[in-house]
Symmetry: C2
């Protein structure tokens, strides 16, 4: 057996940490450093690290655990409060980029050859990847705010809308013979939330009962919680065609009510910063393989990035304003939705499979994903800036950092 | 991408936990339950779980982290004390099984066709896998005892002796044309320990200095420690032909002197029980694919198992007695060395590659490995029995369990 994976991991942990510390020095979230680490070590620059099945799977578990802990630390009550707002924001935040992308595709020389292809460029822009935002909000200790809950809610709905739109567009512009039935998929999405709700209700009840009966060993609860998270994530992808991270988030949300949710999330914090999340964030960067580009493509890329960022911010900003958020909050929510991350890549791959995304458009899309993913946390941090100068001092004050009596600074590096 | 790995992990975590709890109920170490879980779910019985690169790599990291924490929790001073004893025990504990295996091979009808092949059966029996013993001792809260240190020391020397013998036998009985130079390999083994010593000395000094200068963030120390562990494990395998777990153990040993070694090992405890070690122990069971066997082979297998267990116990027992250990301790040390685990499988594979191990002997060897691995912790626990009836009550009282103010029972399930 080859032992290179040991070296790869060492390299990932070291580089993400070092660059993370560096980016913190210049007051940027560590996540940015981690992403850059992957980008630099990956095929895009030094070409030392490559995507392996091992890394891919681990990064998948990384993002699942990330969303699971986010769910654990979210209060269902607060989330309900933001339900309507989140929906409005998600919908407008999807429509604006959809149009923006389609228009760009239509007028650009390298755009799609057909209307559907142009619309699909818009579809790619609709996807929101909340994981990096979650990480950033966590780092800033803002995860349990009204704004954060709204963003999380909107991102979940956005995820669903993304699936719906992808499904509709795919079924309409299907050039690959692969048949897709809109109604069936919509039903599946609906059924998933019903399923998660029912299973979740039963499980959380049993879990609490079990908990009260024997305090004998806390570790087993952590593991059972993990199993529940993994199974719900798996079921989401496998049986309902919903993103696994949505399943993971719901799993966390379901357990967030239980007594020991803090103890559990603290354990996953450790698993996350010590092992999984560095791998996830690095792999996002590692995925960015960029071929040679001509001037036309470069211009298209620049425009794509600008539209990706602005359309999301503007769309969500208006959505937020409609829902009585003040100007500042509107901007925070808008920037919180900018990051595209892995979701856009998944959509793009799906489009490629359906013959709706031209290969030449892949490099621009990847660059768009990487840039939005890197600037999202920066913008988000700026949008929270003034009011909280000492924000990173006592950020991410997890139960673990409390339990262990470690000085708050420990929490400030959630990687 | 396929999401089956999520289901596989869920299955591994759930089954190892449930069977672990079950085995504890009947006063057996949880490790046994975890091993059985893998065996039952693997190709040997239900054939639900299969070895994937993902699982293999994770289980490798699992055993590395296991040995790393073992090293972190070992006191160099105590280990030095046991240095001579360990050497004597290791040497006699290697010679006896070597002869035992060779004799079995010589007289059995299914034994090797040549003298070298018979000797190689003995070579397979020499290997000691200490990881399960470490886990069991940890579970019993006996890791920091004179006996445990002697076992650890002996296992390390045993590992080296194993490499040496494997090398000599391979080079003598080499039928594959693959050339092996004994002197070179011996030199490499020697150089590795020199290398580890020098690098370790420098690193631990720098590490402590860094630590004293900024207490700002404890997490970064944990990650840097992990990187050091991974690199030393990688270097051991890649450049010196030494087992990676030996490198990992030394890495832990090197850092065991530093001030925050307890904080660090507590973090790895969490990573271990929550994610990595269930995968490792399950995979040992999953690896046991057993073909059809005739009566002669079955008899051979039974004899192989008996000789494997007795030769190691007897050899190490005499070694221990020679070194002034009392009768009870002698038995404890002997049983502590019984487990063969992955090491024997590695040796067997090497032998196969060299044409020294007949394919028909693979099933017996695997069965021998699984059985020794399963009964080792049981015997070990029995050997510690009488004197400490409440042994599992406050076992494995890690800093984490203290820091978090969790009741001691939490520690009792180190899986």
């Amino acid at each position: 057996m080859s032992y290179d994976f040991l070296f790869d991991l060492a390299l990932i942990f070291l580089s993400t940490k070092l660059l993370g510390i560096l980016t913190r020095r210049v007051n940027m979230p560590q996540v940015v450093g981690a992403l850059l680490a992957g980008l630099v070590l990956g095929p895009a620059v030094l070409n030392i690290l490559h995507e392996t099945e091992f890394i891919t799977n681990l990064s998948e578990i990384g993002v699942i655990v990330l969303m699971f802990t986010a769910g654990l630390e979210t209060s269902i009550k607060d989330l309900k409060k933001c339900g309507l707002a989140s929906s409005v924001i998600a919908i407008i935040g999807v429509i604006v980029p959809l149009i923006g992308g389609a228009v760009l595709g239509h007028f650009s020389s390298v755009g799609g050859k057909s209307l559907m292809e142009n619309i699909f460029i818009g579809v790619v822009l609709t996807a929101t990847s909340v994981s990096i935002t979650v990480e950033t909000l966590k780092e800033m200790g803002k995860l349990n705010t009204k704004v954060a809950n709204t963003i999380l809610g909107a991102a979940i709905i956005d995820d669903v809308l993304g699936i719906v739109i992808l499904t509709i567009v795919s079924s309409l512009g299907n050039t690959s013979g692969e048949s897709v039935n809109v109604a069936v998929i919509l039903l599946k999405v609906f059924l998933f939330f019903v399923f998660a709700g029912v299973v979740g209700f039963i499980f959380s009840k049993l879990f609490s009962m079990w908990f009260d009966n024997s305090k004998k060993d806390l570790r087993r609860y952590v593991i059972v919680a993990f199993v529940f998270c993994l199974l719900l994530s798996f079921a989401a992808e496998e049986y309902f065609g919903v993103a696994d991270i949505t399943g993971a988030f719901l799993a966390g949300l379901i357990l967030s009510g239980t007594k020991e949710s803090h103890y559990i999330s603290a354990r996953f914090e450790t698993l996350s910063y010590l092992f999984l999340s560095p791998i996830f964030f690095a792999s996002v960067g590692i995925n960015a393989t960029i071929g040679s580009m001509n001037s036309a493509l470069i211009i298209f890329t620049i425009l794509l990035v600008i539209i990706a960022v602005l359309s999301k911010i503007v769309g969500c900003y208006f959505g937020a304003r409609l829902c009585k958020f003040n100007n500042r909050e509107g901007i925070q929510i808008g920037t919180g939705m900018v990051s595209r991350g892995e979701v856009a890549l998944i959509v793009a791959n799906k489009g490629k499979a359906l013959g709706l995304v031209n290969d030449v458009l892949f490099a621009p899309i990847i660059i768009m994903v990487v840039i939005t993913t890197i600037i999202a946390p920066i913008l988000l941090k700026l949008s929270f800036k003034e009011k909280n100068p000492v924000v990173e001092e006592n950020s991410n004050f997890t139960p673990e950092t409390i339990d262990n009596g470690i000085d708050p600074y420990d929490g400030s590096e959630n990687k």
